[in-house]
């Protein structure tokens, strides 16, 4: 007697897992598997966040755990938001963020566009271009402090060769007007390849058939670039901007190695400033409030950006 399709399907369907594990329901088993992850997330993400929010309203100092802790209300927040020095570090961070992203996107996209054109040795060039981002930021920072040295640094000699200026007449990391650009140059040198790789992925995802159709329609190269290449790479580019933006907002090691935040506080980014407050001055409560303000800022900006990114992807 032959089996019907229904019977075969019934046989193929495995019995409920719960029936094999001491009468537990599927839902209970699912919770058993998910619970450790939830507990871990609560322990390492949510609890510290709530604890930090609580500390931000106090004068707690982690280096003096036995001292009396006073409830300060919003005093820490008020101090931070009215402190002109903190606004200066915010400006320094914004300057760093904007210019590194502008340069990295422009140069990264251009490099990707050039590499994407089929020529002999483009794989070798890709490897060479990608090398800087494989180095440790601390090493890169140290390395560039030597390059920037007015007396022995190659950078000054290169500029002097091109412009005829005195090589020891300017100091990239010692001059207030040049120091912010010195870190923009190094970060761009190091991370442009990352943007290039993402753009390259975007460029290689565009089917040739689209360009062939455009050729049939006698669209110029310039027109093809603006109506096909740019729109199709844009989501990739925006993703690269998001990654670099988040990374550079918390930039620390490279700048500490290069300028230490100086001269004065010209290159003291918020991450460096926050570290000083939290782990050098040990003003834990104050630093917690600072961290919360930064968290809210980044979270807010990132949320707006992600919405914009989703809209671009939907087009």
């Amino acid at each position: 007697m032959s089996e019907t399709a229904m019977e075969r399907a019934a046989k193929a369907t495995p019995p409920k897992v719960a029936r094999r594990i001491k009468g537990l329901s599927d839902k209970a088993i699912a919770w058993i598997f998910v619970a450790p992850t939830i507990i871990l997330l609560l322990a390492v993400n949510i609890f510290p966040l709530i604890w930090t929010i609580r500390l931000s309203f106090t004068n707690f100092r982690a280096n003096r755990p036995n001292a009396d802790v006073q409830w300060l209300g919003l005093r820490n927040y008020e101090r931070i938001l009215t402190d002109s020095d903190i606004w200066i570090t915010m400006q320094a961070t914004a300057h760093f963020l904007v210019w590194t992203i502008v340069f990295q996107v422009l140069i990264g996209f251009t490099l990707a566009w050039l590499i994407n054109r089929k020529f002999k040795g483009n794989d070798l060039w890709t490897t060479i271009i990608v090398l800087p981002m494989m180095l440790s930021p601390a090493v890169v920072g140290n390395f560039w402090t030597f390059l920037y040295q007015p007396q022995i640094g190659l950078f000054n000699y290169a500029v002097a060769f091109l412009t005829g200026a005195d090589p020891s007449g300017f100091s990239m990391i010692g001059d207030v007007s040049l120091a912010p650009w010195s870190i923009v140059i190094v970060d761009t040198w190091m991370w442009t390849p990352f943007v290039m790789l993402i753009c390259l992925a975007g460029l290689r995802s565009i089917p040739d058939s689209i360009y062939e159709a455009a050729e049939c329609d006698r669209a110029s190269k310039w027109r093809q670039f603006w109506t096909i290449t740019v729109p199709m790479v844009l989501p990739f580019l925006m993703l690269a901007v998001l990654f670099r933006g988040i990374e550079n907002f918390k930039m620390f090691d490279l700048v500490v190695q290069l300028t230490g935040g100086g001269p004065g506080s010209t290159t003291e980014l918020t991450s460096i400033n926050l570290k000083r407050e939290a782990f050098e001055k040990w003003r834990t409560g104050y630093a917690s409030a600072y961290a919360i303000i930064l968290f809210v800022t980044v979270f807010g900006l990132a949320s707006i950006y992600v919405k914009a990114l989703n809209k671009v992807k939907e087009r």
Partner: protein
Amino acid sequence: MKKTHIIAVTMFAAATAFAAPRSVQADELTLCWAAWDPANALIELSKDFEEKSGHSMSFEFVPWPNFADRMLNELNSGGKLCDLMIGDSQWIGLGAEAGHYVKLNDFFDAEGISMDDFIPATVTGYSEWPKGTPNYWALPAFGDVVGWTYRKDWFERPALQAEFKAKYGRDLAAPATLAELKDIGEFFQGREIDGTTVYGASIYTERGSEGITMGVTNALYNYGFLYENPDKPYDLEGFVNSPEAAAGLEYYKALYNCCTPPGSSDWYMSENIDAYKSGQVAMQMNFAFIWPGVNADPKVGGDKSGYFPNPAGPGGHFAQLGGQGISVVSYSDSQEAALEYIKWFAQPEIQAKWWKLGGYSALRAVVEDPGFATSQPYAQTFLDSMAIVKDFWAEPAYASLLLSMQDRVHKYVVADQGTAQEALDGLVKDWIEVFEDEGKL
């Protein structure tokens, strides 16, 4: 037969183990300090302690830029890594009040160790908290002070001597005042010597840790800067930011602008040493600990270098104190052995050997010995410098006070922002805020 053997051996081992008196148990001590030349001398010196006590020593040395971060984190977390800590002088207040260090008064009394036997400035600087009270948390271990090294061989060149005399009307010699120091700096700045462009002086400008503060105070003190009203603690207004103090800060900036090598905007001890040893500068500001290394250097050592104390200013003659005391860490499980080390270290013959090995003893018996001043080319300068020392705050909140000063001073001197008076007014504002937070105001 075999069985009885084993039983006998086991019983003997057990008996010896129980019978061994606790006092002779050998401990393994870890001594924590900065990674620098004197630390190597201490390793050599400590071999004698290991031999005599039976304890073994291990050392945890951290480079200066990370020293405070690493070691204060260790202390703040109640870590047991260090049994003995040669901590910076500014840490004493925190070490005492936060319970990181063992109070040594009873131990000193029991062992007959008297603080009167040490250079008074080092006792105040490295051992006492609160300052000026007989509460001791460390034994003075390494006396140090900011002083100057100069290229004696360049200064002695007849052509340069003549040119200098014609220009300034006096001999080209180690300066006695800050004004003279600046003249000499300007004289050498950009000069070509033996085919190389050289500069006046390397001074402290480092921003990240404590560098520029340890440098600028050598000008500030000598122009009239005071940390507080001598009659009223924590009264800062008019003392920290007095017009004289502002003049001192202006002097330091002028010295930075006129007489330092290009690119020296973030220099501290090691950069200054490099600049001096590589023949870039005529004079070098640095802590005295580097002098044995300079003296032994094949390129600039011996007769080629001379030493002088920080020159006087219009408001006095002072120099920034460096150096450290040695403390027993309260979290250590080997406190008895650590105290044993301090007792051994305090002995005059060990202190004399310490000086010979390159460590700077703070014991009066060593530095007041008739032969001391001539024992090394820099010994007299060390003595002269130790007689004029002043130190930074040693408050528990010293780090906040220090970072504020670093920031304000660097902004003015190196980054050229604002005026000297504005920088010091800002510093007073910052320090008042710190003391208010501390409940001192």
